[in-house]
Every structure is written in C-alpha cells, then in structure tokens.
C-alpha cells in the first residue's frame, strides 16, 4: 500500500507540474500563432532572434524578482537601479579610457563595477527591509526615486554616453553571436539555468519558499530569515547588473528615461509565470515564459497597423489579463480551498 502511494505520488506530481507550466506556454504559443497570422515574417529567423535578445533584459531581471517575490518581498527599484548602474558604468568606463585605453580592460572594469554596484544596491534594499523593518514596498519605492534622480544628476539632466571608441570593443556583448545565438540570449540562458537550480535544487530556494509561505515557521525552522531575505535582494541586484552589462552596449547610453517601468514589467513577468505575489511559491520556468510573453506582445503590436497606435496599451493590458487567466489552468473548475 505504501509503495503504491509513493509511485502515484511522483507521477501525479509530474503531471501537475506540466499543467502548471502549460498555462504560460499555451499563452505564448497562441501569441506566436497570432503573430504568424498577422505577418508571416514574425517567424523569420531575424525576428525570433530579436525577440529572444530583447526578452533577455526583462527576463534576467525577472529571474531575480522571482526570488524576491517568492520570499514575500517586492522590489520596485530595479528599473531605476538599472539606469543608475548603467550611468555609473558609463562614467567609469569613459574616465578609465584615459588610463587604460579603449580596450578590453576598460570594458571589464566597467562590468566589474556594474556587478559590485548591483550587489551593493540590492544589499541596501535588503538591509533596509530586514534590519530597518520597513515595508519592502516603501524601501524600494524610495530607492527607486533615489536611483532615478541620481542618474539624472550624473547626466546633468541629459544623457550619459559611452565613448565611441569603447563602444567598438563592447558592441559584441550585445550584437555578437555565439553558435548562432546572440550573446545576450546566452547570458539569459545561463542566468535562467542558475536561477532554476538555485530555486529548485538548493537549500536557499527552499528557504525562500518557506519564508514566503510562513515567516514564523521559517524562523522556528532554524532559517536565518533576515539573511535569506537580504540575499534575495542581493540576487535581484546581481541580475539587474547583469542585465545592465548587456544593455549598455545596445544603446551606449543612460538617461533618466532608461529602464522606466521595467519594475512593473519584471513583476508582471514573474506573476504571469505563475509565481504568487504574496510569496511562498516561485517558478523560474514560468518567469522565463512570462518575460517571453511580454516581449512577444510588444513585438506583435509593432507588426501590424490594424489598430491605432494609441490602443497599444489596451491590447497589452487585455493580453496580459488573458494570459494570466489562461495560466490558471483550471478554467471554470471551482478551486474552493485555494481562495
């Protein structure tokens, strides 16, 4: 009897997992079909590559956001953080050029600083939330304003731009391809795999889930709640800095309008993917699909002039709602005990 139960268990589990991921996957598939019907060029290699590359930014940030949200937090500062990091990175690289020259060293220095800044910014968010005992929403709303205005300040209201000499060296990080896939896509893949492993195969992921599910249970289970929560923000910061590292060579500049609304997009990607906003249940796979869905919506809307440009937002809103509705995967069925 016990044996029988055990086997059904594993099978059941796998099945349920499938249905859960199937939601966002179905939504993405439908979008692709719509895109193809609107314009067959949608499925051209060039467009698919563009699409994947573009998803990389939001996707990488959203992987970090999955940890924060799973552990019951929220981070509204990611967009501004990206802008601020990009800005500082550009300043550093431009001034390093004088000593190091426009070479690899300068670019590496810039990237290294970006990572340090990301870790530091995430750590600040984390510490203010946990040690300062201030609601994450407020902390990150505050730092969002701070980072955004800092980049404006550094850029003196205008745009910070990377020296053209460095751009040549740095360009391949965005525009280059390895084995037929653009470099940003590789970064996205690596971040996704690491994120998935961290969430599903390590104690850290388990701790995040436990904290989001019930913080006092986590505390009584010998989990260092504050430390783990801070770590999620640090991971988020790392992801933001990685996204920035591949963003900067794309446009070679940063300004007050860099990364506006990325926080909402990242959170939306996470939730479209099936992670629960209140925490306790995180799915990296879903997040990745969520990021792809969001980018595809934007892409499709660039594809057609059937609808007024002004109504882009309406379409976007409708599609997001429908996608999440599909994602529930229990159409019509009552889920009494989940409410």
């Amino acid at each position: 009897m016990s044996d029988v139960t055990a086997t059904t268990t594993t099978k059941d589990k796998r099945m349920r997992f499938d249905i859960k991921t199937a939601g966002p996957a179905i939504a993405l598939l439908l979008l692709c079909i719509i895109g193809f019907l609107l314009n067959p060029a949608f499925l051209s290699e060039g467009n698919l590559t563009n699409l994947l590359t573009r998803s990389a930014f939001i996707g990488i940030i959203a992987v970090g956001a999955t940890f924060v949200i799973t552990a019951g937090g929220i981070d509204l500062s990611v967009g501004s953080m990206a802008a601020a990091i990009a800005g500082v990175m550009i300043i550093i690289m431009n001034s390093a050029m004088e000593t190091l020259g426009p070479g690899l060293a300068t670019v590496l220095l810039g990237c290294g600083c970006s990572i340090l800044l990301g870790l530091g910014a995430g750590w600040i968010n984390g510490v203010l939330t946990t040690k300062g005992k201030i609601e994450a929403f407020i902390v990150t709303l505050g730092t969002m304003g701070i980072y955004r205005s800092l980049v404006t300040y550094f850029a003196d209201g205008g745009t910070l731009s990377l020296d053209f000499a460095i751009r040549g060296v740095y360009r391949p990080v965005y525009y280059g391809s390895v084995f037929g896939l653009p470099a940003p896509v590789w970064v996205f893949i690596v971040v996704s795999i690491c994120g998935w492993l961290l969430m599903n195969r390590t104690a850290f992921g388990r701790y995040c889930t436990a904290i989001g599910s019930n913080e006092s249970v986590a505390k009584y289970s010998a989990i260092k709640v504050d430390r783990i929560k801070t770590m999620t923000y640090v991971i988020q910061g790392l992801c933001v800095s990685l996204a920035t590292v591949i963003y900067v060579p794309r446009l070679g500049s940063a300004s007050a309008s860099t990364g506006v609304m990325w926080e909402l997009e990242a959170i939306a990607a996470v939730i479209i993917g099936g992670t629960v906003l209140k925490g306790g249940y995180g799915r990296i796979g879903g997040t990745i699909l969520g990021a792809l869905i969001l980018t595809t919506i934007g892409n499709i809307l660039n594809f057609t002039d059937l609808i007024s440009n002004y109504l882009n937002g309406t379409m976007q809103g409708l599609i997001i709602i429908i996608a999440v509705w599909l994602q529930r995967g229990d159409w019509g069925k009552a889920k009494a005990n989940k409410s």
């Binding site: 060029a41 060039g46 467009n47 930014f57 003196d156 745009t159 963003y247 300004s255 882009n312």
Partner: protein, 293 residues
C-alpha cells in the same frame, strides 16, 4: 514593388507630440494617396529601448527602404539607427540629431537653443533691469538643457533676476503646482518663462487663482499650441507671444524622404526650421484648427 518607409517617433504623451502624430498621419494619407507605390508605416514607442526594438522590427519584419526617425533621445538611438542604415535604408532624422555625424542622409529639425534665445530676447525687450522672473523647465533632458542654457546665456548681463527654476515636466498639473509654490515664495514676480505651452496653461491658472495676473505680468510658453496661438490672435495680454517649435516638422521630413525616391534632383541635406516668434501680427499663419495641438 512598393517603397516601404518606416516612420518612428515617441508615443505622444503630451500635446506637442500629439500634434506631431497628427501631422504624421495627415502626411501619410496625403503621400499614400499621391503615390500608390509608397507605403508609410507609422510606429510609436514609449521609451528609447522600445524605439530601438521598433527599429529592429521595421528592418527585420517590414524590410523598409527608408526610415524617418524622431529619436526619443539622441545617444541611445545612434547605434540602432546605424544598424538600420547598414541594412541599406535611407535615413532621415527629425528634430534630435544623432550623436555621431554622417549617419543620416537627411536632417530636419527645429532649433532648441534658438527657442530659448528668442524667448529671452523677448523678455529683455519687455522687462527692465531689476525685474524678476521665474523659469519652469521641462523634463530633465538634453532638449530642456539646450533651451534653458541658451535662455540663461541671453538673459545674462541684462540685470533681470531669475529667481529660481524648477522642472515642471511639460505638464499642466506640474506647471500649476510649481507656479503656486513660486507665488507663495516670491512676492514679486514680473514675468514667467514656461518654455512650453502646456506648462504655461498651468502657470496661468495658478496666476489667476492667486489674483496675480494683472500689473503687466506675462507668461512666455513655447511650441505653438493652437489654443495659445488663437489667444494671441485674440490679443491676450497674459500670454502675448509664443515661440514656434513646429510639430509639423515630421511631415516635412516625410515629404522630403518620399521626394528622395520620387524626384530626380538630389534631396539630401539639412533642413533647420527657425524658432519664429509668434505675435498677434503673424499668428494666423501658424494656426491649424484641426490639429490636436
């Protein structure tokens, strides 16, 4: 086969951009009717990153032959536009120049420093040394800086005091609130440079609320909103003049770009539109009642 021309500009979120959008749509209809083999594709984007994506899509999906682009910002879009150029398309840049020279084939633009300068010249003409003005700026961007710096450079040495300057984000509500606070703070203000007609509307509302709209007080906006032009035509004294920054420049750019394919002569080059001072005398010629701006 058709000539595909992509037209990319920021999503209209304020009136000037809406006017530009209107002129672009008018031009599209007009040109497509005129030349059946020309297809103009209008795309707007909400931030520089999205605009870069839209440019990629115009190339990879639509396969455009020419691009008319009003960059969200100069720096970030330089590389993406360069990529479009590499696909072989003709490039027309509107309003904000790219930060690398030689990418665009055609350049059509208004003149931001000139807008600031012309405004300042008008102020100097109306005010005396020792008079006080306040400045409401736009969104912190290069454009705003250019206008502001040119204005300040021109004012310098005239003896006119610029009491303070704050960003009002080319937005009526912010214009209203910032002006309210300036009025509480400074008992003596003789004129306001609002830089933009939207901000000016908020400023005027605040002046009227505080009852400080008399005594020769005046407000100078900018861009050429139709309501403002109308009231100048009607002889309003609170906003006596406006400085033109025409949203129709996008239509000009589209015309020139189509002409590059259709006319025989060379059309490449730079077309810089002036920052004309609109006064009651010349206002009628800048008035488009059907435009949203």
């Amino acid at each position: 086969e058709t000539i595909k021309i992509g037209v990319s500009y920021p999503t209209p979120t304020h009136a000037w951009a809406a006017g530009m959008n209107w002129h672009a749509e008018q031009a599209e209809k007009r040109l497509e009717a005129l030349y059946p083999d020309v297809d103009l594709i209008l795309v707007n984007s909400s931030d520089p990153n999205a605009q870069a994506s839209a440019l990629e899509d115009l190339v990879s999906v639509q396969g455009i032959d020419a691009l008319v682009v009003l960059p969200f910002e100069s720096e970030p879009l330089t590389d993406p536009v360069l990529n479009v150029k590499k696909s072989g398309a003709l490039i027309t840049v509107v309003d904000r120049g790219l930060s690398q020279p030689g990418i665009e084939d055609i350049y059509v633009a208004g003149n931001n420093p000139e807008l600031g300068r012309v405004s300042a010249v008008y102020m100097k003409g109306r005010l005396e040394s020792g008079d006080n003005i306040v400045v409401l700026r736009g969104i912190p961007t290069l454009i705003d800086n250019e206008r502001f710096d040119a204005f300040m450079a021109e004012i310098e040495g005239s003896g006119i005091n610029v009491l303070d300057h704050k960003h009002a984000n080319w937005n009526r509500d912010d214009g209203f609130e910032v002006m309210q606070d300036f009025l509480s703070r400074f008992p003596d203000i003789d004129a306001v440079w609002a830089q933009d007609d939207d901000i000016a509307i908020g400023v005027v509302a605040a002046l009227k609320q505080a009852g400080r709209d008399g005594d020769g007080m005046f407000v100078v906006g900018g861009a050429g909103m139709k309501e403002t032009i109308k009231s100048i035509m009607d002889g309003d004294t609170l906003i006596p003049v406006d400085v033109l920054y025409p949203p129709s420049m996008i239509a000009t750019a589209m015309d020139v770009t189509v002409a590059a394919f259709k006319s025989n002569g060379p059309v490449a080059g730079r077309y810089i539109l002036g920052a004309t001072l609109i006064t009651p005398e010349n206002a009628a010629s800048f008035y488009f009642p059907d435009s949203p701006f």
